[in-house]
């Protein structure tokens, strides 16, 4: 193989950059996908539940039951469909029109008079998150109502143990705040791994790879020209995500831009290496795209800890997460946005990502050399 020539490298780099700039789909992924993701995460993926539709069945016409039903109707968390029996509400529950049924039984007033007064809550377990929300808030409404009634008769007891909760870095618990770093991870994965895998597979599929091999361009130069433009494209769309996240969605940025640049650059190394490796192993665009989706995009969504907590996963899957580079991107990204510069943590994660990158590049270089020889 010829020695690395800067002149050839520059010529190839110009060719590659022009090709990227001319293909609308590349620009779509680099600049439209980040905006789309931020937009969806900002508006569509809202885990902060607003009002939930529930049915309230009051079988007791007495004062206590009516007053409790009134408390449910007045609650800001519920949108109440009233009924006298549970039967019609059950159909609504099956039809997804309501997410829960609160049953105030026939003898409720009598029980309250005796110091009791049980309420039944039926939730739609097919949506587990909403179901626990309905159960918890229904219990809250009943307790407040009971406490207020006890207060009417004198002597409401205060809580014995009070938990004073504070949420650092994100006091309002806005889910947008953790979704922006997540979208950066997804976009950089797509650009680093998927686009790189596609472009090299395309050269093989169209037969232009042989044409390149017949030129004086060496494998090192060829791979470098495939990697460098996407590296900068990845950083550009990270910058776009950051600016839009801060300006449009009000996500705080408490660290330094320099730290963000280092973290992003460090992640692009394994991402690009993975793309090169995939394209060297599979020469068809369809297969390369599906493998990239499976080995890069899905882990970024599922195994990175950005949407789903890693400690909550089964042990075997937790072990798998140690092998995906994006796992080491999420904690420093979230920290640089929400907490500030914590160099000890940053450097440790950056080192791990670079380590993955070195291994993947070595593997990709070996796989490519074998084919050229």
């Amino acid at each position: 193989m010829a020695a690395f020539s800067l002149r050839r490298f520059r010529a190839m780099l110009v060719k590659e950059s022009l090709q990227i700039a001319r293909d609308p789909s590349t620009m779509l992924i680099a600049f439209v996908l980040p905006l789309l993701l931020l937009f969806i995460f900002g508006y569509g993926v809202n885990l902060d539940t607003a009002r939930t539709r529930v049915g309230v069945a009051v079988a007791d016409g007495g004062e206590a039951a009516q007053s409790l039903a009134g408390a449910f109707a007045a609650s800001p968390f519920f949108d109440v469909t009233p009924a006298r029996t549970t039967a019609p509400l059950k159909d609504l529950l099956v039809a997804d029109r309501i997410r829960g049924i609160i049953v105030i039984p026939q003898d409720f007033g009598a029980q309250v008079a005796k110091g009791g007064g049980d309420v039944q809550v039926i939730t739609d377990g097919s949506l587990p998150n909403t179901a626990s929300f309905v159960a918890a808030y229904a219990e809250g409404v009943r307790q407040n109502w009971a406490a207020a009634r006890a207060g009417d008769r004198g002597g409401a007891a205060a809580e014995t143990i009070v938990i004073a909760s504070r949420f650092w870095f994100n006091p309002e618990l806005s889910s947008r705040f953790f979704l922006v770093p997540g979208s950066i991870a997804i976009v950089m994965t797509m650009i680093g791994t998927l686009l790189t895998a596609l472009v090299i597979a395309r050269e093989w599929e169209r037969g232009t790879m042989e044409a390149i091999m017949a030129t004086p361009v060496g494998m090192a130069e060829f791979l470098a020209t495939k990697v460098v433009p996407y590296f900068f494209l990845g950083l550009a769309s990270m910058a776009l995500c950051t600016v839009v996240g801060i300006l449009l969605f009000g996500v705080p940025f408490r660290g330094s831009p320099f730290a963000l640049l280092l973290i992003g650059s460090a992640f692009l190394v394994p991402a690009l290496g993975q793309g090169l490796l995939i394209s060297a192993a599979f020469k068809s665009q369809f297969v390369a795209s599906q493998v990239a989706l499976l080995s890069a995009f899905l882990p970024a969504m599922l195994l990175s800890g950005f949407l789903y907590e890693i400690p909550s996963m089964p042990r075997a899957i937790q072990w798998v997460t140690y092998l995906v580079p994006v796992r080491y991107l999420i904690p420093p990204l979230q920290t640089v946005f929400l907490a500030g510069d914590l160099w000890g943590m940053f450097l440790r994660h950056i080192a791990i990502m670079l380590g993955f990158g070195a291994v993947l590049f070595a593997l990709a270089a070996r796989a490519n050399r074998r084919r050229v020889a």
């Binding site: 293909d23 789909s25 590349t26 779509l28 789309l36 969806i40 508006y43 569509g44 993926v45 809202n46 607003a50 539709r53 099956v94 039809a95 997804d96 997410r99 049980d118 309420v119 039944q120 809550v121 039926i122 939730t123 739609d124 377990g125 949506l127 587990p128 998150n129 179901a131 626990s132 159960a135 229904a138 008769r153 007891a157 205060a158 143990i161 009070v162 938990i163 004073a164 909760s165 504070r166 949420f167 650092w168 870095f169 618990l173 889910s175 797509m190 596609l198 395309r202 665009q285 369809f286 297969v287 795209s289 989706l293 899905l298 599922l302 907590e309 089964p314 899957i317 929400l338 914590l342």
Partner: protein, 366 residues
């Protein structure tokens, strides 16, 4: 069936399964995704470490710490010696939450004054932090109620979760996966199959062959439909047997709704492919469509939580209609009337998108 139609169908099926790597890609990833999604995608919080700064050291704080440590969601307690150590433990993500007991905690409990525990959570993981805080409040509330039973609020809330008594995320995830993976793979296969011919120049050959446009389109639709049916059937067989999620509804209704779901997806994929000249464009285009399609389906977050205008947009999204059908058929024994009510929007989407794709192809021909 005309001879021409049969010929193109045979050709398309051969093209889909000829390449061994591509053949594997149609079967293996969907299965891997089933297992990965099934077990990884949980919003429960388990195995977390909680920091404790106990300046009290009294019996009451010890008991509360023991109860929190004993919760099935908590893996262990990390003892912290100072505010500084507490801040470091949260910053460095050693713990997701930390509880600080003041020196008067036990004295306050004994004297029937409200005893305050400071709880600090890592808001970088706001969702997990919020779920964890509800666990901790519940434990503290129960302990407080035991210490000093309150009068007059003797009633209880008796909760029953229908359709999924243990609120298992697996039960929700598994039917949803048929929707999600179906969307990703069907759209990619359709978009790719047209774009590949176009990139290699063989699409023009198809156009000048005696094949009529609708025959080419039917041929192109068939392979993804078969792949979609095969994957959905494998899932529907594995989900009740391997994962233990009940299938309470009717299989016939499942296939009925599935047919129109796949047709709608194929229609959308065709539209993407009419707009793409290369495989890369087709692939990235279908990705750009399928990601929002999944996000707006109600899989990641309930559709009810979205703003009204976005809920209206989501009506044009096939997964938004199919997800409640599948959750209904698997968990709720959904009756035919309800399934039908949610199927007809998909029929409309399929008609419009397939019609639009045919129109655009014809436009290209002339």
């Amino acid at each position: 069936m005309s001879g021409r139609l049969r010929a193109i169908i045979v050709k398309e099926l051969l093209a889909a399964v000829r390449d061994p790597a591509a053949r594997l890609i149609l079967i293996v990833p969907p299965l891997m995704q089933l297992f990965l999604f099934g077990f990884a995608a949980t919003l429960e919080v388990r195995n977390v470490e909680i920091g404790v700064l106990d300046r009290d050291g009294g019996a009451y704080s010890q008991e509360l710490i023991q109860r929190i440590a004993g919760s099935p969601n908590v893996a262990g307690i990390v003892r912290l010696a100072s505010e500084r150590e507490l801040a470091d433990a949260i910053d460095g993500r050693r713990v997701i939450a930390a509880l600080a007991f003041g020196p008067d905690f036990s004295a306050d409990v004994a004297a029937h004054r409200p005893a305050i525990v400071q709880a600090v959570y890592d808001g970088r993981r706001s969702n997990a932090a919020q779920i964890l805080s509800s666990y901790i409040e519940r434990i503290a509330g129960e302990y407080g109620a035991e210490l000093r039973p309150r009068r007059a609020t003797g009633g209880q809330t008796i909760v029953r979760h229908w359709f999924n008594p243990n609120l298992s995320f697996l039960w929700f995830n598994m039917p949803a996966l048929i929707v999600v993976i179906g969307a990703v793979s069907s759209m990619a296969v359709v978009a790719q199959s047209v774009a590949r011919e176009r990139e290699l120049g063989t699409f023009d050959q198809l156009m000048v062959s005696p094949l009529r446009l609708h025959e080419i389109l039917i041929g192109k639709m068939l392979a993804p439909l078969i792949v979609g049916f095969a994957n959905a059937t494998i899932y529907a067989a594995l989900i009740p047997t391997v994962f233990g999620v009940p299938l309470t509804g009717s299989i016939a209704l499942f296939y009925f709704a599935l047919t129109f779901y796949l047709l709608a997806l194929v229609g959308v994929g065709m539209l993407v492919s009419t707009l793409s000249y290369t495989q890369q464009q087709a692939f990235l285009g279908s990705f750009l469509v399928s990601v929002p399609a999944i996000m707006l389906s109600g899989f990641s977050a309930p559709v009810d939580n979205m703003p009204g205008w976005l809920q209206t947009i989501a009506l044009a999204n096939p997964p938004t209609h199919f997800l409640p059908i599948l959750e209904g058929i698997f968990l709720k024994a959904m009756p035919p009337g309800e399934v039908l009510r949610r199927t007809w929007p998909m029929i409309i989407i399929a008609t419009l998108s397939l019609g639009g794709a045919a129109y655009l192809f014809r436009l290209r021909m002339e």
